[in-house]
């Protein structure tokens, strides 16, 4: 990681982010988080649940300005955000939900093409309440790409899906992303998901969130088999035993999400 590197698209520098805790005392959520991101790279932020990863995404998205530090964009930010819960407007159809995210200044992508890519053509005229969580997440992904983003933020997009559906959604995300490459941040507590999708893997320590280490994954995506992902997972877990074992939140969450995948493939 070289902050200030010439080719980076986005430099995130969060020195300090605090919020008022339950007893009124300030709690530090993030401290000393610095990251420079190159265009069209896929970065996974891996850390235990509730460790302030979402806060980082909120800051990058410009939803939270109350922090010390800076977000430097080398271009006008266009953000696609897949929130942890799909956050569709329940009173608008799937089509309207996607259309509302289209960029009105620049001619965006046609909704039908996007819907076809996300596999939601058949439900375009349904209301979100009629969709399963998996389908609703697909709509959220289609919507995130509709605004022609140059940064895609993904906040635990596979959480609370059963493993077959989560695997389908990961494959779909990979497909849409490789057809429309964009800088992506994936926040996850699952090492398996991070290894399947990302180029860069950032391990985060909780409370306050800070970077423990960064792992570059220099394997082409095409050859990332389930076997190889599992090997890597074992290696990384062995390399950072403290990270994967000391924190109670992280280990069980990661293993429960991963086990069915490794046995099924």
């Amino acid at each position: 990681m070289q902050p200030g590197g010439g080719s980076s698209q986005l430099e995130i520098q969060i020195d300090d982010k605090t919020y008022a805790g339950a007893n009124g005392k300030p709690v530090t959520a993030v401290s000393g988080f610095a990251l420079a991101v190159e265009q069209n790279s896929f970065v996974a932020l891996l850390g235990p649940s509730g460790c302030g990863k979402t806060t980082i995404l909120q800051i990058v998205a410009g939803l939270d300005h109350d922090f010390r530090g800076s977000i430097n964009w080398n271009m006008a930010p266009h953000i696609g955000f897949v929130f942890q819960e799909p956050r569709l407007l329940p009173w608008r159809t799937v089509r309207q939900n996607i259309e509302l995210a289209l960029d009105h200044d620049a001619p965006g992508e046609e909704v039908p093409a996007l819907a076809a890519a996300a596999g939601i053509s058949k439900v375009l005229d349904r209301f979100p309440g009629e969709l399963s969580l998996g389908l609703a997440r697909r709509v959220a992904i289609a919507r995130a790409f509709a605004c022609k983003p140059n940064v895609l933020l993904l906040d635990e997009p596979f959480v609370s899906l059963d493993e077959p559906n989560a695997r389908k959604l990961r494959a779909l995300l990979m497909k849409v992303w490789s057809e429309r490459p964009v800088t992506a941040f994936l926040v996850t507590h699952s090492l398996h998901d991070a290894l399947e999708l990302a180029d860069r893997l950032i391990l985060l320590a909780p409370r306050p969130t800070k970077i423990i280490t960064e792992i570059e994954l220099n394997i082409p995506r095409k050859v990332r088999s389930e076997r190889q992902i599992n090997q890597l997972r074992t290696q990384i877990k062995a390399g950072y035993p403290a990270f994967f074992e000391s924190d109670e939140d992280c280990t069980p969450a990661a293993t429960t999400a991963d086990t069915p995948a490794s046995t099924a493939d």
């Binding site: 410009g62 939803l63 953000i79 955000f81 819960e85 956050r87 309207q96 309440g129």
Partner: protein, 249 residues
Amino acid sequence: MNRSIYSIASIAALLGIWILAALFFQSHLLPGPLAVFRFIITELIHGDMLFHLGMTLWRVSAAFVIAMLIGCATGLAMGRSRSADSLLDPWLIIFLNIPALVTIILAYVWGGLNEVAAISAVAINKIPNVAVTLREGARALDQGLDDMATVYRFSGYARYRHVILPQLQPYFAAAARSGIALIWKIVLVVELLGRSNGVGFELNLYFQLFDVTGILGYTIIFVCVMLLIELLVVQPFEKHATRWRLKPA
């Protein structure tokens, strides 16, 4: 048997009780449905009933629109801003507890026996209820959807039309429903105390004459008008606004 059959049966039962009671007492103080029906027809064709109905409906609509506009604006401001809430909350509690009759008398005393005073008195009675309902609506707005609208750079108009108003719709509907029901009752009192036309004025007239047929005739025709408004305006609008909700199987 579906629900509408039950409704028809229950209305028929009410009519039946009325007919039996009228037959039993045989008094001009309790006329049967037929006499009342005859009165309504005669008054509609040869009398001023349509004029009085029209005057009352106009007062109801005017007071309703004013109360909804001011009440919604106040309620939304109070729900969104903490300082507006603490500033206006004592007023709200006071106005909620002033009896409707007091507002009406004071409006007539201070404003004179005129249309403006009459309609303002009704609106002032309803504004606090609307404000309280809409304040709850504004407090319940979903921050997540608001963030979503910010990320996807919704225009101010799109944010209101697609994000905020649909969330407030149930609160508008509740305020409008209870609003109409309350307002038309207060309008009759206002008319009785200080207007020379309208259903309230006519009711007072028939009361002086001890003419129960006239009182029941006006009551029934007005209830029918309000039911029609409910069936033809309020319910279709609600059905349209809530079409996205899942119907129970």
